[in-house]
Amino acid sequence: MNKSERLKQRHRAEKRFKFYGIASVTIAIIFVLILIQNIFSKGSSAFQKTVIKVDVFYDSELIELNNGATLKEIYDTDFYDLTIENLLKTYPSKNTDEEDELLKLFSSEAEYEIKNAFLNNNQLIDKTITLEITASDDIDQLHKGNYPRDLPEDRRSITDNQLFIYDYFVENEIINKNFNNYFFTNGDSRDPELAGIGGALVGSFYSIIICLLIAFPIAVLASIYLEEFAPKNKITDFIEININNLAAVPSIVYGLLALQVLLATLHLPRSTPLVAGITLALMTLPRIIIPCRASLKAVPPSIREGALAVGASKFQSVFHHVVPLALPGTLSGTIIGLAQALGETAPLILIGMVAFVVDIPSTPIDPSASLPVQVYLWSESAERGFVEKTSATIMILLSFLIMMNFIAVYLRQKFEKRWN
């Protein structure tokens, strides 16, 4: 083979490699786009809820309240009859069967919403205001276009009559879509139109904070010791191998460990962010130690020597020079570790965070949900409304992860100093 042929062959090899590279990147991007498109198309409607405009008349004959009633008086009053009375006015029903069907179009929260409006303004006796009452899950899905109304009547939960009423609402323009505040403020619920990620958000937040408080100091001190002070011998090597192994242990194993040690032996409260945080910290520790050690290792030895040469002790050279230089890498490693912990589901299922928790936890030792487990729970639910909720929760979770990773990259680029 002569020289020019060989040159050509080298160029061809390079082009081939370039093509393979571009092809793999393109395929990867396509997968990500499909994933995102799928989640968005299913989930974005969850940020809206369907509401029905109702002219509510606070009839003094149905509630025994006066203008200026105290909070306690209002709380103690039963608004049920008033609610029924007002909801029935939205459609001229012909008989009681039809009235029942009409009432099923409203969420069970209607009574509370009517009561709440009176709590905000206690001068409404014998007056009328227009309220937007949350619609039931079926109507919500129907209005969002997710409901198959073409099915024969015996195969769907909405009756023909209800469809007729719905069309009447649409015609009279009293049905509407609003921002779904319940999705962010409510805890879990059996009614999809009322279910929210409020509890899961708070639970995940507490878990991550506890995870950070435990894992960060331990991981940083351990990596500084191992990297800078530990003698290089068999024991150190053994520890290093084990840290790498632990980082690869499936997370469910940590869940089993927590189940045995934290719940069965130490009797810590089940399904709580406290236990979740400790479990996630155990799991995250090796995953933080590894990048921490890498960033310490990346500080050039010349910096250490420079410090030692002017008479700094080992401790001073490490804490005055090496650690500050390694800090951006350490922080970004920690944040990425926490982001992994935030998305972790399996160990939380084992420590009982799959429990159905309606209340939003006020302390880390209250039973709670967490974002990824909420996704898991809702994905198993039969109701149509939970499909969009599942995707919307994934969107929230993903946006947190993206935000955390962005912060990690930003910290690293902003504070990383150049040393030569």
Binding site: I303, G306, L308, A309, V310, G311, A312, H320, L325
Partner: protein, 253 residues
């Protein structure tokens, strides 16, 4: 005859199983420049790193024999390595300023040794050190800029100023000009000439010309052994050893 500042006696150094220095006996005179020459890997750097016990950080390094400074064994248990390094400063092959401001680079040493309690005292130390290192005029208006923003030659003078800042007695220089251009090198050499009136200086160099220009005494190392040592003039004009002769005339190395 000048007073002997540092005396190495029967010095053997091992890195694990490998012996790096064999029975080195060398005397360094006070307020004089001693140049150490020899091919790469001959043990010059190992030798000067023994003087401020920089080899301590290498776990597998083992030292036998003794190095005395002013008559005291520096490897003795009663000697604190931090105090030793306060007395024996070091400048490295590659300039290694801390990634901090010029001011902080110089003031760091005095601060950790408790010199310069007030801001004024520190300012004075910084100014004096930079002046002694012939860098003051170039940086006096930008003391808060990072030390790493200086040119290579300036960075090396900054490192020399950093070594001076703790007021040492000995300054070790490990090929301080190998990463610098000829002009920066000339400046450093000039500086060394001035510094020798105050400090005892040991310089490792690969440049024969530099050894001739700056040193009064020269030691030639080969394969971990000190082959010959003597007045610089004599070593370069009329060496006793055939190997020295071959090395300085460029026949091997």
């Amino acid at each position: 005859m000048k007073k002997v500042k540092i005396r190495a006696k029967n010095l053997d150094v091992f890195y694990g199983d490998k012996q790096a220095l064999f029975n080195v006996n060398l005397e360094l005179n006070e307020k004089e420049v001693t140049a150490l020459i020899g091919p790469s890997g001959c043990g010059k750097s190992t030798f000067i790193r023994c003087i401020n016990r920089m080899n301590d950080v290498i776990d597998i390094c083992k030292i036998e024999g003794s190095i005395e400074m002013d008559g005291f064994d520096i490897n003795d248990k009663s000697i604190d390595v931090v105090e030793l390094r306060e007395k024996v400063g070091m400048v490295f092959q590659k300039p290694n300023p801390f990634p901090k401001s010029i001011y902080d680079n110089i003031s760091y040493g005095p601060k950790i040794h408790g010199k310069g309690e007030t801001k004024d005292e520190l300012d004075e130390i910084v100014e004096n050190s930079l002046k002694k290192a012939a860098l003051w005029n170039e940086v006096k208006d930008r003391l808060n800029e990072p030390g790493t923003s200086l040119s290579g030659g300036q960075q090396q003078r900054l490192c020399i100023a950093r070594a001076i800042s703790v007021n040492p007695e000995v300054i070790l220089m490990d090929e301080p000009c190998s990463a610098l251009d000829p002009i920066a090198t000339a400046k450093i050499e000039e500086l060394i000439d001035e510094l020798k009136t105050t400090y005892t200086i040991v310089i490792v160099t690969h440049s024969m010309a530099q050894a001739v220009r700056v040193s009064q005494k020269t030691g030639f190392f080969h394969l971990g052994k000190l082959i010959e040592v003597g007045k610089t003039e004599k070593i370069f004009k009329n060496p006793d050893n055939k190997m020295t002769q071959d090395y300085i005339t460029g026949r091997f190395g």
